[in-house]
């Protein structure tokens, strides 16, 4: 599992670089973030939750059943929304209230 960073959207705020628990994200000469060691990513999605402009997507490698969907999160108040964009164009949105516990 890994991430991809869309440089066209990136505003160079550095929040993803700062939070990465593997120090895998670096800032390029153009001031934009890029993942220097994509194979070392473990899919914790910490960077995705930090990005203010939704420039980072999480995806599953094809070797573990990935079918090309891209995932990002958006946070409004207590609601953390997970948006799963399928390659065919349709998308799924799952809202989680962070004040509500897991039930299982």
């Amino acid at each position: 599992m890994s991430i991809s960073i869309n440089k066209n959207k990136c505003i160079g705020c550095g929040k993803c670089r700062n939070v990465c628990p593997g120090s895998l994200i670096k800032v390029d000469s153009d001031g934009k973030a890029y993942i220097k060691y994509p194979k070392d990513c473990w899919g914790c999605t910490s960077c995705i939750k930090e990005c203010p402009v939704y420039a980072i997507d999480f995806f599953l490698g094809a070797d573990i059943g990935g079918m090309g969907s891209k995932v990002h999160t958006e946070k409004k108040g207590d609601i953390l929304s997970w948006i799963i964009q399928k390659p065919q164009g349709d998308s799924i949105k799952i809202d989680i209230n962070q004040k509500e516990s897991n039930k299982y």
């Binding site: 914790c44 070797d63 897991n102 299982y104």
Partner: protein, 559 residues
């Protein structure tokens, strides 16, 4: 390269679960100065990065701390330290309440009581559990956090710790840190063995690939006594994503079944290692693949599971969506991971006394690196951080600070300089890491051999790991991050060597899969109902067999 000298009362190495709680404890109970060295950034570093959706160690109503001790002892077939388990269990609920005060959401019933999952678990929304802890640390008085500073070695003289050496991976700095006491709170060791999917998806969410066994390696090299490295941890997980299965097994009651639909878990037993072994055996005898039986659960359960996994291991939810089938429509395939060394799950780590003091004066251990106390999970790691912190404060109040010798500083600076000034090397760090994983996979009971091994294979593993160790000095680093990767490789190789020695020393098979010695396929209660410990002496690993510490007794270090 810049050099910097720092000074603190208590140095905490690793800003994960145990390290953060140790810092909070010291801040609240003393006026000691604390420095946390964290190799990434404490906001999301360590095991809690993506979150967790249950607290697996809690004393629910009607149960006692001793019940938890008994459970962990049974799961490890006796090879535990009851004094450590009991002192941990007694404080599990206190740290849970503290987490709730800090902002963690815990499920409660209409009367305001926690809702238990089984005998030991609470349900939570723990997506933000690490940011909650980190925020508390950042607000704590007298605590300084150095992010992206990776400790590479202890400064120990005459078996007393006086500080540590570290590298700043983004500021090209070599640090010498003087400290009156040190708490080692780094993670366990992942990446010793070839992983399930060695290609693009070699890393997975359940355990940080950045946990390289640094704390174990530094202790081994400093001559600390270590325990039970032979009790490897192999996690039974959702196939490919390696997402935890507890939410399925305990949350919706999904049983382990083979491809014929037969429930096989009862055939092999229900301990952690037996669940793995059963799955391996069903596959070997032609009844694989194995699954957790989720077909037929309700749409409401589907919906809850999808959310629960997003709060802990998002890849599993994505996998369900990518496959077009939710758990109610398709059983969840399971497999064992490669072996890990992780004291939060099994009993591997530093040999500590009841107060979590290691055998090195002034060095205390908590969390994954502290041995003898399995089934810690999140809350147990917090408790151990707390106990280690209180012991460290007491030590500082009652001892004199030693000094780090200039020759020791020079030795470490020379080593670092050697790695960054070279321009060529026959191999890369990554190539040697892959070679190490192949050796461990083939000869020290990896996935390839269904976790089994014999003594001849272990001898080959030991020889080959030593060969790889001799190649480390030829490596070079382009920058300080690559320098950290060299040290991480060294740490893993050091841990591999000790694991091999421990596997060889326990001449029995007490735990299937975790330590399955084909030369000794049965349990030997007479000779091995004991701890296998070790200490590095003059470059050789000396094995020390110790009698079990009986329940109800405290333990102090003896020679």
């Amino acid at each position: 390269m810049k050099t910097e000298r720092l000074n603190t009362d208590i140095l905490i190495i690793g800003g994960g679960t145990a390290g953060c709680y140790a810092a909070l404890t010291i801040s609240e109970n003393s006026d000691k100065k604390v420095l946390i060295c964290e190799k990434a950034h404490i906001k999301r570093s360590g095991c809690l990065a993506a979150g967790v959706n249950a607290l697996n160690a809690y004393i629910v109503e009607g149960r006692t701390p001793q019940d938890y001790v008994d459970y962990a002892k049974k799961d490890a077939d006796g090879i535990v330290r009851e004094d450590l388990l009991l002192t941990m269990s007694q404080r599990l609920n206190k740290v849970t309440h503290r987490l709730e005060q800090l902002g963690l959401v815990i499920l409660k019933d209409e009367n305001g009581k926690y809702v238990a999952r089984g005998n030991r678990n609470l349900k939570i929304n723990g997506e933000n559990i690490k940011p909650i802890l980190a925020q508390a640390v950042e607000k704590a008085e007298n605590v300084q956090v150095l992010n992206r500073v990776n400790v590479i070695d202890f400064a120990v003289k005459d078996n007393k710790i006086n500080g540590a050496f570290a590298i700043g991976i983004e500021n090209d700095t070599f640090y010498t840190i003087d400290a009156k006491a040190v708490i080692i709170a780094t993670g366990g060791a992942s990446g010793l063995y070839k992983p399930n999917n060695p290609g693009f998806s070699r890393h997975k969410m359940w355990y940080p690939p950045f946990n390289t066994g640094a704390g174990y390696a530094m202790g081994i090299n400093a001559g600390a006594e270590m325990t039970t490295f032979e009790m490897r941890f192999i996690a039974l997980r959702c196939k490919d994503t390696i997402a935890p299965t507890g939410t399925l097994a305990q949350g919706v009651g999904a049983k382990q079944i083979n491809s014929l639909g037969e429930v096989y878990e009862t055939k092999y037993g229900l301990t952690t290692s037996e669940r793995v072994y059963g799955t391996v055996n069903e596959n070997q005898e032609g009844r694989g693949p194995c699954y957790l039986r989720t077909e037929g659960i309700t749409p409401q359960q589907d919906d809850s599971l999808i959310r629960a996994y997003l709060n802990m291991a998002p890849s599993q939810t994505i996998k369900w969506i990518e496959s077009g089938k939710l758990p109610s429509q398709q059983n969840v395939e399971i497999e064992g991971t490669e072996p890990y060394i992780v004291g939060g799950h099994t009993a591997s780590g530093y040999w500590v006394d009841t107060n979590r003091a290691t055998t090195i004066q002034g060095l205390f251990a908590g969390g994954d690196v502290a041995g003898g106390c399995p089934q810690k999970y999140v809350t147990g790691a917090l408790v151990e951080g707390e106990i280690a912190a209180l012991s460290a404060v007491n030590y500082v109040d009652n001892s004199k600070q030693g000094s780090i010798e200039q020759s020791d500083i020079d030795k470490h600076i020379n080593e670092v300089t050697g790695f960054i000034t070279k321009k060529t090397s026959p191999y890369t760090t990554e190539q040697l890491e892959e070679a190490m994983q192949t050796v461990m996979d083939s000869y020290a009971g990896g996935i390839k051999t269904n976790y089994r091994f014999n003594e001849k294979q272990l001898d080959i593993a030991d020889y080959k790991i030593k060969q790889l160790m001799s190649l480390v000095s030829t490596l070079y680093a382009e920058d300080f991050q690559e320098l950290m990767y060299i040290y991480e490789l060294k740490e893993r190789l050091t841990v591999c060597r000790s694991v091999i020695a421990h596997l060889k020393a326990r001449k029995e098979t007490r735990w299937h899969s975790f330590a399955e010695n084909l030369d000794y396929p049965n349990k030997d209660e007479k000779n091995f109902n004991k701890y296998v410990n070790s200490r590095l002496e003059n470059g050789e690993i000396k094995i020390i067999i110790r009698d079990l510490v009986q329940g109800g007794k405290e333990y102090e270090h003896i020679n």
